[in-house]
């Protein structure tokens, strides 16, 4: 079926791309078109640079009053944060952020990397259960289990874990993790360093695991076989030859995970404990850089507001350093110091022994990590589903919107408009940028490298910084928070996703198709629009879905750009709450927990559906190839 459709497409393309005498006569006009198109694509590509510089610039500009009043040194190294008394020292928050991030990197990084190892080398693709009894039901169950591709299941588990909105993690942390930890220590305190580290670990596992898995699977098979041929057991070969060979990719995945953990705001806001002092233990209340902004941005004015923006600046600098350090990870092994001079004076009989217990142990640990990841997802999903259903209320979904009670309809329409406006702006710019990078620019040329660095940087900027920027630029320009201001902010957030996903799909379009089009005399613009883009459609659809997922799950960038209200007129120039923002509002004061759970369930269902959609598209693309 797909083949027939493709054939039809190609026929159409040929007809469409065939030059006519008419078009040749209008040569100069079509040349103008070519140049105009190229300029537009370049502008799209430069947009990421403008965005990064703009965000950095405005955050810097907004920080100046506070930094001037307080002094850079006093701001960074002051240990007291007390806006009422004009004290703005953020050192405790810097320390807290660093500790929590470190904890997440250690726990989440370890679990993520070992999960990746397990999935690459031990996770069975097929079960081989044999059932010889007569019970038909049991035989059917066995056959059903044999059909499961565990590796594919785990891929989806990791994707789903990545797709769960921060705010849901926050809710889970508040209602499950914190009480659990509180039972474990004598003081009865659940919030703090440990809770934040654990929750952030879970959130960075998908990043670390999926990127590490790519790195491990890119290691040449010959390293694995070479190690086996030297008498290594499978576990030894994996941990002594394959994993070390993948180290640059693994380190990169950890760095990205660290960036993610450092910039996370909404997941930790309810579980940090919100105390602006240095930590005294695993269970001491803390406040991080991100939560400092979220807690106070809503009511801050003047210097206080500027100090919060400056907090964002410090966070941004941390993130920029983390992102840029990615470029410093050596791609290949270049040799290392170690062996200075051989000391082979030993003439003893060297005895070779059977070893490998450590590697076997690591193998078991890897399996445990993978199981843990699956359990994490199951725990969050089951918890949200049960509570969402238990709290179901007819009124929430069908009653008219009210000023004092959260309802479904206004949030639904605000979210819908938010998504629509963001996509309408982000898709053309992102696709244009991808076209420039892939179809026009020389690969690996200097401008491309620079643009890519900026795109990577943009994708590393934490949501809360986007939120700050949207608040001080878009919301101010548009005269206050509004759905439109939120959408403009989200445009920046999803742009890197759109560019990357589109570029991948452009890459998948065979060169021969372009050549065929040029061979028929079509010019570049025509080739791109009539031949390349239609073939790249699945990738663009994927880009849209991923963007929708990101917009749907975003909260930190929206709280101070859309505004938290319970009503929405439908006019995008006015305030409205998306699902996530409403969820934040509902659970923040603990007044509307029932509604919060229902919203969490709605978000979960949507992210599940979006995952399914991406899966379906990818499966179809695979089939048609």
């Amino acid at each position: 079926m797909a083949d027939i459709k493709n054939m039809a497409d190609i026929n159409n393309m040929n007809v469409a791309a065939a030059p006519t005498l008419k078009s040749r006569r209008r040569g100069s006009k079509s040349k103008m078109k070519e140049v105009t198109a190229k300029i537009i694509f370049i502008v799209c590509a430069l947009f990421s640079i403008v965005a990064v510089l703009g965000i950095t610039g405005y955050i810097l500009y907004g920080s100046v009053p506070a930094l001037r009043e307080v002094g850079v040194f006093n701001f960074l190294f002051g240990t007291l944060w007390s806006p009422e008394y004009g004290k703005y020292g953020i050192l405790p928050m810097i320390v807290n952020s660093v500790i929590v991030t470190f904890g997440a990197a250690v726990i989440g990084g370890t679990v993520g990397v070992f999960t990746a190892v397990f999935l690459s080398y031990w996770c069975p693709e097929k079960f081989h259960l044999e059932y010889k009894g007569k019970n038909k039901a049991a035989a059917r169950v066995a056959a059903l289990i044999n059909k499961i591709n565990l590796r594919a299941v785990f891929d989806q588990v990791i994707k789903l874990l990545a797709g769960i909105p921060s705010i849901i993690y926050g809710l889970f942390g508040l209602e499950v993790l914190v009480p659990f930890l509180a039972n474990m220590n004598s003081a009865g305190i659940g919030q703090g360093i440990l809770a934040c580290s654990i929750l952030l670990s879970v959130m960075i596992i998908p990043t670390v695991a999926s990127l590490s898995k790519n790195a491990i699977e890119a290691v040449p098979q010959s390293y694995y076989e070479g190690a086996l041929a030297l008498g290594n057991t499978k576990a030894q070969a994996v941990f002594r030859a394959v994993v070390p060979a993948a180290r640059s990719g693994i380190v990169s995945s950890l760095i990205l995970g660290i960036g993610r953990a450092m910039g996370e705001a909404m997941a930790v806001i309810w579980i940090s404990g919100n105390r602006t002092l240095f930590p005294t233990g695993l269970f001491s209340y803390i406040r991080t850089l991100t939560t400092n902004i979220v807690m106070e941005m809503g009511y801050a004015t003047d210097i206080h507001r500027s100090a919060l923006i400056a907090t964002g600046l410090v966070l941004l600098i941390f993130i920029l350093i983390i992102t840029l350090s990615l470029n410093l990870v050596p791609k290949d092994f270049k040799g290392k110091r170690g062996v200075k001079k051989l000391t082979s004076s030993c003439n003893s009989d060297v005895k070779y022994l059977r070893k490998g217990k450590v590697s076997e142990g690591l193998k078991i640990f890897a399996a445990i990590c993978a199981a843990l990841v699956a359990i994490c997802l199951a725990a969050v999903v089951i918890y949200i589903v049960i509570n969402g259903i238990a709290n179901f209320s007819f009124d929430f979904f069908f009653s008219k919107q009210q000023i004092d009670t959260p309802t479904f309809a206004p949030a639904f329409f605000a979210t819908l408009e938010l998504i629509a406006i963001s996509l309408v702006i982000a898709l053309p710019i992102g696709i244009g940028a991808a076209i420039y990078l892939h179809e026009y620019a020389k690969p690996d040329s200097r401008p491309v490298k620079i643009i890519r660095t900026f795109i990577d940087t943009l994708s590393g900027i934490p949501s809360i910084v986007f939120g700050l920027f949207g608040n001080i630029v878009f919301a101010r320009l548009l005269g206050g928070s509004s759905v439109l201001a939120g959408a403009l902010t989200m445009t920046l957030v999803v742009l890197p996703t759109v560019i990357r996903s589109t570029e991948e799909s452009l890459h998948a379009v065979p060169m021969t198709l372009r050549e065929a089009s040029y061979g028929l005399g079509a010019n570049k613009v025509r080739t791109i629009f009539k031949v390349v883009l239609p073939s790249a459609f699945p990738g663009i659809a994927t880009a849209s879905i991923l963007s929708i997922g990101r917009i749907l799950g975003e909260s930190a960038a929206l709280v101070f750009t859309m505004g938290t209200t319970l009503t929405f007129t439908g006019n995008p120039a006015e305030r409205g709450s998306s699902f996530t923002v409403l969820l934040y509002y509902c659970a923040n004061e603990g007044l509307y927990m029932g509604q919060a759970y229902m919203l969490a369930l709605i978000l979960l269902i949507f992210s599940l559906l979006l995952n399914l959609a991406v899966y379906a598209i990818q499966k179809r693309v695979k089939k048609s190839h």
Binding site: E225, L230, G231, G335, V339, L342
Partner: protein, 269 residues
């Protein structure tokens, strides 16, 4: 008491190489799924000899080589009948220890495959696998192995440089040194020079003649001249069958089988 038990369990020298026959293959059949790649192959490989396996592509010679250290285990759907005995042990017995087998039966691959580590770490890889941690011992093994692979003089000043920076010929000799560091009794070489230049090839052939004094070498080669230059005995394979196995001299001067003659005189399809 406990110590003694430990050494018995840890003992890797489970093979007995006192007899003259190092490898004994008996009516070996090998299948990839439904395809039969080896048919009723029987042969005895003598100790301290170089045995060459020749034949057109797809004749099963590389497959046979891989069965000798069970690297064919990595191939999905590979099934085997018959028996292979190495050092008096059936290597397809259920209780065989693959680590010990591969330590004793080393392998050099067609394409050099050094690990992305330093020269030193490459050579020390197998000793470390088998629990050797003392620097003095490792140093000794690295030096002896590189010397045995006659690449010591070229590499002694760059032991801590990446192995990926070496030339193809050097990489291959490093891989040989890496295998030697496991102290194997048998060395399997799968077209070890096919990716190399003539000078490097010459060096490796020289090296093999030297090495065979203390171990047994089995080499698969596409190059008949190479077989005549280095092999004591040569086996000719065709379509999964062992057609002829004789002294190299005999096989190339007066082959018994018509198919062998056709192949060595270049009259083959």
């Amino acid at each position: 008491m406990k110590d003694k038990k430990q050494t018995v369990k840890d003992n890797l020298d489970i093979f007995d190489f006192t007899s003259d026959i190092a490898v004994n293959i008996k009516s070996l059949n090998l299948y990839y799924g439904n395809f039969q790649a080896l048919k009723e192959v029987s042969m005895e490989l003598k100790k301290n000899e170089i045995t060459a396996m020749i034949g057109p592509s797809g004749c099963g010679k590389s497959t046979l080589l891989k069965t000798l250290n069970r690297m064919n285990d990595l191939v999905d759907g590979c099934r085997i009948e018959g028996s292979i005995t190495i050092g008096e042990k059936d290597i397809y017995a259920k209780d065989i220890d693959l680590s010990a087998l591969r330590k004793n039966v080393g392998m050099v691959f067609q394409k050099p495959n050094p690990f992305p580590m330093s020269v030193y770490d490459n050579v020390a890889f197998a000793p470390r696998t088998f629990g050797i941690r003392k620097k003095a011992e490792l140093d000794e093994i690295v030096e002896t192995s590189l010397k045995r692979a006659s690449i010591w003089d070229e590499l002694k000043d760059r032991l801590n440089k990446s192995a990926l920076g070496l030339s193809g010929g050097q990489q291959q000799r490093l891989c040989i040194a890496r295998s030697l560091a496991a102290q194997p009794k048998i060395l399997l070489m799968d077209e070890p020079t096919s990716a190399l230049d003539p000078i490097s090839t010459g060096k490796i052939e020289e090296l093999m003649s030297e090495l065979v004094k203390d171990l047994t070498i089995v080499i698969v080669t596409h190059n008949m001249q190479q077989a005549t230059r280095i092999a004591d005995r040569t086996a000719f394979f065709y379509l999964g069958e062992l057609v002829e196995f004789a002294d190299t001299q005999t096989l190339f001067t007066c082959p018994a089988d018509k198919r062998t003659e056709n192949y060595i005189t270049g009259r083959f399809g």
